[in-house]
Amino acid sequence: MASTRAPGRGGAAPKLAPYAFVAPAVVLFLLVFALPIAYTVYLSLFRTEVKGLGLGRGSRSEVFVGLDNYARALTDPELGAGALRVFGYGAILVPAMLGLALVFALLLDEDRVRARGFSRIAIFLPYAIPGVIASLLWGFLYLPGTSPVNQLLRELSLPGVDLLSPTGIYFALANIAVWGGVGYNMVVLYTALRAIPRDLYEAARIDGCTPWQVAVRIKIPLLAPALVLTSLFSVIATLQVFAEPTTLAPLTNSLSLTWTPLMKVYQDAFGRGDLYSAAATSVLIALVMFVISFGLLRVTRSRAFGGER
């Protein structure tokens, strides 16, 4: 942030204007973010008690159960399994996506590489395509009946690969996310690279550095803040994966309706109608996300937001 100097010298010091300007956003924020969050926390502390057959008025009542829902969520084997699955998926996705994005960004930054404009736009293009549509397209490319890869393998008399198998599905999902996200991260890293003063490279070159050494010893260390930011956003996006496995689910038996914790939350809330469990699980997911986000930022001593305030 370049300048947020305090006004107030000269002119009429505005007192009410800033409040009027932020009021619409604050009101909407309270309605759409704060209120629902508070409501989730409230819901997570209750449970429906059913009396008798659960029929008729008053036979169902909301009772306070404290942290009971949390205890049940934490000991739910399916939720734990889902968390592990997302972890496995992220362990494939995040390094692959950021690694590729970094390689492409460094290549784009080399003056002598050709076809840079075309490649940059082509690699960024999938960012504009919704996750659902991306999953539809890749889903058909994975289906043994329509997959060109399997067709090719068959013609070479090699055994086909089934990316919709229980193990393959991790790679299938990670590939969709890599495809959709690599270009965005590439552009972020590339933009950060362009902001580095060129004379640094000149000096290194005079000292006899190869382009490879310049990349590894100068560019990548200077990219650290941008890498932290892109990792942070990638991890957050990974934890929120929902549309892709939900879209692929109709094409394979490898994806249960509770494959990720978020899918389980959806099932709990709308499939089983147990809003209280869903709320407790939601809060747990949010807490995990906060811990990871702040952890990542702290580890890097807030270099990503370092210029602020």
Binding site: G10, V26, F33, L141, L229
Partner: protein, 277 residues
């Protein structure tokens, strides 16, 4: 030296481009195939049924597909426009005034970026249903308008792009705060706000969970949700797969056109913090 630098790196970059374009190329080809051809012919051979597929898509349930497209355009277009306006006004206020509560508001917004959609979606659904707004256009539009990320970007941009002296000069000349915002600051922030608009447009168009939870009537579905429901029925009606493929192509074309037209307006430097005024 020159060959080493130009050859392999260029090849790697083009390989990346091919990977990213491949599914798009596939859907163009696949949309030309009849249901039989889709599963029987070589993947990349062109079929003969593009017109028939388009006709069928057009006729599917009285043209509900076009309704979905229009809905997506409405959610994303109107939502992103309102969001950019709100972000501009809020971002400017946060960057250019020091007032009590500024830090609190900004930190709350930043925390808002990190809250996962589902944590919000269920209680948002419950609150919307309390006021009778579920299954309406508003139930999808309203939550899309306030974008903590957009406000953050607008604040960063306002700090860099609106000089303090200009604001002071206008104030000395007797301009009111609203006038300074409307006629001086916001016009200076337009490039940043275009970025906010584009980010929001893509993220609303991509948002699956919110409409999935809020909407019941498929006449109000955005195109992503519509195609998903068609895919789900494809299990029992394989003919729908052809329509899903054709529909995917048709739904993606305007996005690609928009993307190619506007791609130079993406100010991603905002994100990496490398803004230069």
């Amino acid at each position: 030296m020159r060959a080493r630098l130009g050859g392999l790196p260029t090849f790697v970059l083009l390989l990346g481009a091919a990977y990213c374009l491949f599914p798009v190329a596939w859907v163009v080809v696949a949309a030309t195939k009849s249901t039989g051809e889709l599963f029987a012919t070589t993947t990349l051979s062109v079929g003969s049924s593009l017109a028939a597929n388009l006709g069928e898509l057009h006729g599917y349930r009285d043209g509900v597909f076009w309704q979905w497209m229009a809905n997506s355009a409405l959610y994303a277009g109107v939502g992103a426009l309102l969001s950019a306006a709100l972000s501009g006004v809020t971002g400017y206020a946060l960057a250019k005034y020091s007032f009590r509560g500024r830090g609190l508001i900004f930190n709350a917004l930043i925390a808002g970026v990190l809250v996962p959609a589902v944590v919000l979606a269920i209680p948002q659904y419950l609150l919307m249903s309390k006021i009778g707004l579920t299954d309406t256009y508003l139930s999808v539009l309203l939550p899309s308008v306030v974008s903590p990320y957009g406000i953050y970007l607008a604040r960063v941009y306002a700090a860099a792009a609106v000089p303090e002296d200009v604001v002071e000069a206008a104030r000395t000349d007797g301009a009111g705060e609203a006038r300074i915002l409307g006629s001086i600051a916001l016009p200076m922030m337009v490039p940043g706000l275009v970025t906010v608009f584009l980010f929001q447009f893509v993220s609303i168009w991509n948002n699956f969970m919110l409409p999935y939870i809020m909407l019941g009537d498929d006449g109000k579905f955005p195109v992503t949700l519509g195609l998903y429901t068609m895919l789900k029925q494809g299990n029992t009606t394989p003919a729908l797969y052809t329509l899903v493929v054709t529909g995917s192509l048709v739904s993606v074309l305007p996005l690609i056109a928009l993307f190619l037209t506007l791609q130079r307006y993406w100010r991603i430097d905002l994100l990496s913090g490398a803004v230069k005024a």
